[in-house]
C-alpha cells in the first residue's frame, strides 16, 4: 500500500478551477437554451457522408419517418409533433446519435454512419426534398 497519495481535492486552486468549469457549463447551457428558442419549423438538411456524398433538404416536418442509408446501414430520421427532430434509429454501434434525443437547434451527427442532420431556421429552404 502507498500512503503518500495525491488528494482528490488539494486546495483552493482545485475549487477555483472546478468553479470556472461550472460557470462555463452554465454559459454553455444558457447558449443552448437561447439556441433552442430559434424559429425552427422542422426544416433540416441531411448530409450522408458516403462516396459519393448525398444531401437532402426538407422544408418542413415529414409525416412519416425518413430512412437514409449511411456508411454502416440505415438510419431513421423522425419529426416530432412539437417541431423537433431526432435520429430514432441507426445501425451504428454506439447509438450516441439516437441517445441525443430530440432537438430543434443543435446538429445531430452520427460519426460511424456518416449521417449529419442539421436543423434549419424557417425560410432558409423553399423545397420539399432534394437529393443529390
Amino acid at each position: 500500500m502507498n500512503d503518500n497519495l495525491p488528494p482528490i481535492f488539494a486546495g483552493k486552486h482545485d475549487w477555483l478551477i472546478l468553479l470556472v468549469l461550472l460557470a462555463l457549463s452554465f454559459l454553455a447551457w444558457a447558449a443552448h437554451e437561447h439556441g433552442s428558442h430559434s424559429s425552427f419549423s422542422g426544416a433540416c438538411r441531411v448530409r450522408i457522408l458516403t462516396e459519393p456524398p448525398q444531401e437532402m433538404l426538407f422544408s418542413g416536418p415529414q409525416a412519416q419517418p425518413v430512412e437514409v442509408r449511411g456508411r454502416t446501414g440505415p438510419a431513421v430520421i423522425e419529426w416530432g409533433s412539437d417541431r423537433k427532430i431526432r435520429i430514432s434509429s441507426s445501425s451504428c454501434p454506439c447509438k450516441t446519435c439516437v441517445n441525443m434525443g430530440w432537438t430543434n437547434s443543435s446538429s445531430l451527427i452520427c460519426v460511424p454512419n456518416g449521417v449529419v442532420v442539421e436543423p434549419m431556421i424557417a425560410g432558409d429552404q423553399q423545397v420539399d426534398a432534394v437529393t443529390r
Partner: protein, 179 residues
C-alpha cells in the same frame, strides 16, 4: 574490488531494471487502457457521451507515476489498439478518440505543471473536459457545416464532471494499491 564490482553491477542492474520496469509498467497501462476502452464501448449509457472513461485513469496514473511522455504514449497507443480491436482503425471514430485522448493527456500535463499542487479531481475533470472539447472540435472540422454542434457543450461539461471524479477516485486507488 568485489565491492566496486557489486556497485557497478548493482548500478547497471538498477538502471536496466528501472528502464525495463518503466517500459513494462507503460505496456501494462497501455494494455489495460485499451481493454477498458474496448469493454466500455458497448455499455449502455444513460446520457449521450456519459461513460466513465476509465481508460483516462491509466493516462493519469502514467502521468503521476511515470512521466508526461509515458502518459502521452498510453493515450496514443491505447486509442490505436482499441480501434484495431473494434475495427475502426484510421476511421473518423478512431481519429476522434485519438484527438480526445491525446488532448486530455496534454492538458493534464500542462495543468500539473502550472499547478503542481492540483488535486486528482481537478486534473481528471479538466482532462475529461478537454477530451470532450477536442472530440467536438474534430467532429466540427470533419462533419459539421454550421456551429450548432457546440450547443451540446453544456451537456458535455456536465458529463465531464462526474466521469472526471470517478476517474480521479480510480486513479487514487491505483496509486494507493501499487508501491
Amino acid at each position: 574490488m568485489i565491492d566496486q564490482q557489486q556497485q557497478t553491477t548493482g548500478h547497471a542492474g538498477n538502471l536496466i531494471a528501472g528502464t525495463t520496469g518503466r517500459l513494462a509498467l507503460t505496456a501494462v497501462l497501455v494494455a489495460s487502457a485499451a481493454a477498458l476502452q474496448v469493454v466500455e464501448s458497448p455499455l449502455p449509457r444513460f446520457l449521450p457521451w456519459l461513460k466513465p472513461g476509465l481508460a483516462n485513469a491509466m493516462t493519469l496514473y502514467a502521468l503521476l507515476r511515470l512521466s508526461a511522455s509515458a502518459a502521452m504514449s498510453v493515450a496514443v497507443l491505447r486509442t490505436s489498439i482499441a480501434a484495431l480491436f473494434m475495427g475502426s482503425l484510421l476511421s473518423p471514430v478512431h481519429l476522434i478518440s485519438f484527438a480526445g485522448a491525446t488532448s486530455a493527456a496534454a492538458s493534464m500535463t500542462i495543468l500539473r505543471r502550472l499547478f503542481p499542487a492540483a488535486g486528482l479531481a481537478t486534473l481528471s475533470v479538466f482532462g475529461a473536459l478537454v477530451n470532450n472539447f477536442a472530440q467536438l472540435a474534430v467532429v466540427q472540422f470533419m462533419f459539421a457545416a454550421n456551429m450548432s454542434i457546440w450547443l451540446h457543450l453544456a451537456l458535455m461539461i456536465w458529463v465531464a464532471l462526474p466521469s472526471g471524479l470517478i476517474v480521479a477516485k480510480v486513479t487514487q486507488e491505483l496509486l494507493r494499491r501499487t508501491p
